[in-house]
């Protein structure tokens, strides 16, 4: 229980003559959320795959706590359609024996409680991503490793799911290593941010800032001078699956 769950030290990884990771070090403690950010091709997914043991580093040490149970959501996962599988079946496809109630609750928490009996091959992109996340949570792992877990999830869902993730380390006494591009949503729930770009270029506790001016400064980093924003005067509310509850009958905009 003492010591970090995961400790990467001085990781190097090269392919085809290009150094993709350059002396990257990283630790994840129990109870904390560490988020990897960085531009496309920065080596985030590579680093994550080294962390979970799918790739071997060229140099450096990857130490996982002995007996560490990992829950993993890869950046992409395609299934062969010849294998029939329902969402519920997929959730149960793991070492631990599960109560039906747990499965239902995990699905409900990621907003896909009504998909239990649907085939995994017929899910929409966002639904599948939510199911993957639910399954990883259900395993009650010591370490959750999430590679862009919110890809294709709608905005409402992203916000709900980030809020859920923020509770997870305390609830299950686990650590989370996450990759994400959703800076504005990530920062609220993250304990430590590591900005990767081949090497670790900056790392630290995000300041807790709640009001919008700070948020704009983040956008300012991306040079979003010409950014125009759409105002959606919404006249109804959606829940994730389905019913629209119009407050005024006509379509507004």
């Amino acid at each position: 229980m003492t010591g970090p769950l995961l400790e990467l030290t001085g990781i190097d990884w090269s392919r085809e003559g290009r150094r993709i990771l350059n002396r990257v070090s990283l630790t994840v403690q129990r109870g904390e959320i560490v988020t990897l950010i960085g531009p496309n091709g920065a080596g985030k997914s590579t680093l994550v795959q080294i962390a979970v043991g799918l790739l071997k580093p060229d140099a450096g040490v990857c130490r996982r706590q002995p007996g560490l149970r990992i829950g993993y959501v890869p950046q992409a996962l395609t299934l062969d359609p010849s294998l029939p599988l329902t969402v519920g079946g997929f959730m149960r496809l793991q070492a631990r024996k599960l109560a039906a109630a747990d499965v239902g609750q995990a699905l409900a928490e990621t907003g896909v409680g009504d998909l239990h009996d649907r085939s995994v091959h017929a899910l929409s992109g966002g639904e599948w991503q939510r199911v993957l996340l639910a399954r990883a949570l259900l395993q009650q792992p010591d370490l959750l490793v999430l590679d862009e877990p919110m890809q294709g999830v709608d905005l409402t869902g992203q916000e709900e799911l980030y809020r859920l993730l923020a509770e997870v380390p305390r609830r299950y006494r686990c650590g989370i290593l996450m990759v994400s591009h959703d800076l504005h949503l990530v920062m609220a729930s993250t304990d430590r941010v590591i900005c990767l770009n081949g090497h670790v270029c900056c790392e630290g506790h995000p300041e807790s800032v709640t009001s919008h001016p700070e948020y704009l400064r983040l956008f300012g980093w991306q040079g979003s001078q010409g950014l125009a924003v759409y105002s959606h005067h919404h006249d109804h509310r959606h829940d994730v699956h389905g019913c629209v509850t119009p407050s005024s009958a006509q379509a507004g905009s």
Binding site: G53, I70, L77, L79, S82, L85
Partner: protein, 263 residues
């Protein structure tokens, strides 16, 4: 009459039961031609057994296990398609067998016997071996069903979650080699390949879960064996091919029934 038919039926049913869960894993992993390749490799087994003065079945079992291990290794290393690797191994082992036989002439090797082995030649005394094999294979598959399915679904995900994917892959291929070489003797490679592949394909549209697919495939396999034997008796057609065709009819029926619900 019944004394000839019932051992054939019992043997066919045992083969079908053994084949159902293995066949599902085979189809999901795109190794449908595994049985076919094993049949090709038997020639090398027969040749080697002559060279080393061991019984023929020993040589054949040895080469079957060799094929399983080679395939497990190749699948791990290269990310080449499994069917192409299987085809490569199959051609290579058959060629090696043919060359071995040329340096080693004298023994009549009947490739066709392996291809078309005969269910009707089964006697009650053959059944215990088959039944024992079925119990071992089904028991192992049952005990490891979840990790087997998970690592079939995605080997990388399974590996991260602590499933020993490489060992499972080797085990699965060894079980398959065992099942096929066991069944090949009584049923012939054509029939056992068909029993492995066709029932899972036939029931795929009806199944929503892996386990359901394996159970339905077992049912379909038993139905195909029964139907084929009946047809063979009614129209006096060869047993093996009749069973294959009755399995194909089941496949077609499964295609026609549910018209729209894919997945």
């Amino acid at each position: 009459m019944w004394e000839i038919l019932w051992p054939a039926w019992a043997g066919g049913v045992l083969a079908a039961l053994m084949a159902a869960p293995l066949g599902c894993l085979l189809v999901w992993r795109r190794l449908a031609f595994f049985g076919d390749s094993l049949a090709h490799a038997t020639l090398l087994g027969a040749g080697l057994s002559l060279l080393f003065h061991i019984p023929v079945w020993g040589g054949i079992l040895g080469v079957c296990l060799l094929l399983a291990l080679l395939l497990a290794g190749l699948l791990d290393r290269s990310r080449l398609p499994s069917d192409a690797l299987l085809s490569l191994l199959s051609a290579t082992l058959l060629s090696a067998g043919l060359i071995a036989i040329r340096f080693n002439p004298g023994a009549p090797v009947d490739l066709q016997a392996w291809l078309f082995g005969d269910l009707l030649a089964l006697t009650p005394s053959d059944l215990p071996l088959l039944a024992g094999g079925a119990v071992v294979i089904l028991g192992t598959v049952f005990a490891l069903w979840r990790p087997l399915v998970l690592s079939t679904l995605d080997e990388r995900l399974a590996a991260v979650e602590g499933v020993p994917v490489l060992r499972l892959r080797v085990l699965l291929l060894l079980l398959l080699a065992l099942a096929v070489s066991l069944a090949m003797k009584v049923a012939g490679s054509l029939l056992i390949t068909a029993l492995l592949v066709i029932p899972p394909l036939a029931v795929r549209p009806l199944a929503r879960q892996p386990t359901a697919m394996a159970l339905l495939a077992a049912l379909a396999g038993v139905a195909a064996v029964s139907g084929g034997l009946a047809a063979s008796f009614k129209w006096d057609t060869p047993v093996g091919p009749s069973i294959v065709l009755s399995a194909t009819l089941l496949f077609l029926a499964g295609r026609l029934l549910p018209m729209k619900t894919n997945h």
